[in-house]
Symmetry: C2
Subunit: 260 residues, 2 copies
């Protein structure tokens, strides 16, 4: 299964239409390279560091932007996963929408909100991710801070996920997360991890870029730099990593009796 990860730089101002235009252009490019799934950053649709404007720009998971994303997926024959502020009757979530070319949709809500600002703006998600299937691989979406908790990725892997796909917005001074925790999660669970980050500045935040696609042996199949927009594409060869899983049988060797 070929996977694409979009690292964005900017935008200067919240502009969902411009974001969808960019998504369409990159989806075409990714599909042209054979990708079956394109993962874009956290709050891709609106920008991340936009304060209460997230409340105004929030849309339902079946809103107009979702409709356009579904049309992009159908037109280019690949699935999309991107972050957006989700409007619901009970409040606004920091969410990620999955749409594929067959019209399937799923919405995941970030469970671990990061810092005072996210906790002020959003409600925390109250469900673990639903596993999706793309190109024969089972995919678990998580968002940014979620993946820093080993329990979340462990749960996903034990539920059968082969790829953990992470829209994110990781800023300075936390490059350690992209450089070390992301490959650690891949290795300690024997799964692929796709980490789609922002780069450059947005208001008072400087994102660290370093989007990546990590393999079950912890190796980076593709990695972006710190500052520029990038489209990463890599082949995820699950069967080809059978030896990795045999060499690192963490799931079989876990001591659930001592550490449930």
């Amino acid at each position: 299964m070929k996977l694409a990860v979009l690292q964005t730089a900017g935008p200067a101002d919240p502009d969902p239409k411009a974001a969808l235009d960019l998504l369409e252009a990159r989806a075409a490019e990714a599909a042209g390279q054979g990708a079956r799934l394109l993962v874009a950053p956290e709050l891709f649709l609106t920008g991340y560091n936009i304060g209460e404007r997230a409340w105004d720009l929030a849309e339902p998971a079946d809103g107009p932007s979702a409709g356009r994303a579904a049309a992009i997926a159908a037109a280019h024959g690949l699935a999309l996963l991107y972050g957006f502020p989700e409007r619901t009757p009970e409040g606004i979530y920091n969410a990620a929408l999955f749409v594929d070319s067959d019209g399937r949709r799923a919405c995941y809500r970030k469970a671990h909100l990061f810092g005072a600002e996210e906790k002020r703006l959003f409600r925390p998600g109250d469900a673990r991710p639903t596993l999706l299937e793309v190109g024969g691989l089972k995919v678990a979406p998580l968002i940014c801070y979620d993946v820093e908790f080993p329990e979340a990725v462990r749960w996903a892997a034990e539920a059968g996920a082969q790829l953990v796909a992470v829209p994110t917005a990781l800023m300075e001074p936390m490059a350690f997360v992209a450089e070390t925790l992301v490959p650690a999660r891949a290795y300690e669970n024997g799964v692929f991890v796709a980490y789609a980050n922002r780069a450059g500045r947005e208001g008072d935040l400087t994102y660290v870029g370093r989007s990546s696609i990590a393999a079950p042996d912890g190796a980076l199949l593709a990695a972006a730099g710190a500052e520029e927009e990038a489209l990463l594409v890599a082949e995820l060869d699950w069967a080809g990593h059978a030896a990795t899983r045999a060499a690192n049988p963490y799931h079989a060797d876990r001591r659930r009796d001592l550490y449930p």
Copy 2:
């Protein structure tokens, strides 16, 4: 609290007396630099790759080698943690003995046995580590493969450990563990991690060295090379990492409702 980590190279043949001579020399050196705790590798006393000779060389946790280690600790005024094969009425464990200069002793038995050979030679430990106190810090011992399981280090940190001390015998091709998983465990739990490895060859194994002392922000306070014997010493300033714990409040932000 100043901590020392001993990376050993060799030995060619199992020789507990030579190992204790080395321990005494390094304990004197570490104490001379102000260290309060010296951590030595897994099965330090006998060698790691010695097959069934571990059964013959195993000693009780209060056996003669433990007595000499206690005398070394008392003479040099520092605590020791080192690996040895522990003889018990029910069988042999891959264990680590803690002795301090006040005569306190504790024995931890490796819970996660690695590979067919360890599972053939040893019984698995059936208890989580008992927390020790050294120089004002709470210390949790784990052994090698144990630390690769995020659940074990999470448990120790939530039990109050500030330092996770790990006698290990990490071999090729698993340098990823030393380079990435060890600092990841420190960062994701906000604790110090001491990783005391072997280096060089022992029979058909080549150890990766790379012993280290990782800080709660994931930075390496000290690190050894791949091949040589080394004595690492670093100051563990728990109070000085208050800002790290505030910036990465993983324990407070954990979603125990979703990922118990």
